[in-house]
């Protein structure tokens, strides 16, 4: 039953990740681009760019989430895939920047334009995220060193 329970958990979390990393951003950007009269300086190519990379990296993150959440608790494979997922998550977050979503320009007709650059904000989040990567590496080492004890506890 352990395997079935783990896989159900994996599917649930994959669904959540797909929702938050792919569906919601896609819906958001599609809505933003479809609203007429919104004074945003984005072109169709920008929209295609943003949505492509959100879906691409979102799929990778979700696939890795399935492997991670369907693995037994404190297992080495769970730790390894959690580490890979966090690294791919970095690529996902950064793709917002290089897709142009981190620099937004609002056009105010007959007046000028206003632009907001959140690259520095992303930099700070990436710095905090690096600590998460270190923590995941720590997990891999911890689960490898203590694997016998962990297996013993799990199989009781």
């Amino acid at each position: 039953m352990g395997a079935v329970k783990n896989m159900v958990k994996g599917f649930i979390f994959t669904g959540i990740y797909v929702l938050f990393t792919v569906v919601i951003p896609l819906v958001f950007f599609t809505l933003i681009f479809s609203i007429e009269g919104l004074p945003l300086e984005w072109e169709q190519q920008d929209k295609n760019n943003i949505t492509f990379w959100i879906v691409a990296f979102g799929l990778l993150v979700s696939g890795l989430a399935f492997f991670k959440y369907s693995s037994p608790k404190q297992s080495i494979r769970k730790a390894v895939f959690a580490l890979v997922q966090v690294i791919v998550n970095c690529l996902y977050i950064w793709s917002y920047r290089f897709s142009g979503a981190a620099e937004i320009t609002f056009v105010i007709s007959d007046f000028g334009f206003f632009s907001l650059d959140v690259s520095q904000m992303l930099l700070i989040y990436m710095g905090i995220y690096f600590l998460t990567i270190i923590l995941r590496v720590y997990d891999v080492i911890d689960f490898t060193i203590n694997r016998e004890k962990i297996r013993e506890n799990r199989m009781k």
Binding site: F114, I128, Y138, D142, N146
Partner: protein
Amino acid sequence: MRASRVFRLLVRIFISFLMVTATLVSLLGGLSAVMILSNQDNFGIDTDNAEFNLEVNNSTLAIENVNFSLPFNITNTGYFDLENLQLEIQLGLNYSQIDGGGPGVNETRVVKILERTQNFGDIPKGLTGNFTFFGDNNSFLHTNFPDPLTDIDWTRSPALEFYANFTISLDYSVGMHSISITVINIKVSEFP
């Protein structure tokens, strides 16, 4: 619980704390940026007191000295300091070019005569910063000036009009947000 798991829990709590802090700063910064920008009274560009001084040689009509000053103010009604405030001004000269459209046909032209960026430092929260942008003679693009004898149609009234594009840029929310506001084609002066 193993000691390694306790250590891990503490690190996770610390990381969560950092994330929450960064998110709160970002949200509060966004909120107060909207508060500042939504009120036009917070930005004042005093075009009425803008000065464009031109010294022309009476015999050759060559431009010997030119400077430009523009007072402006910004009120910081937000929660964080406005940092690294910069103002960039592009000044354009609008005039009627003699024979610009062919013999006997004058054509309206705009040439860029000034492009300068000036730094004004920070505006602490709750305060109003009063500044004066100043462009001296060296800041002007003298090669772009039309020849006052042969190019400018002085019969047009006014003969010369000065238009400016302003770009105010600053950092906000402890440097997390960089904001830039560009206002285009504001008439600042005319001559005569």
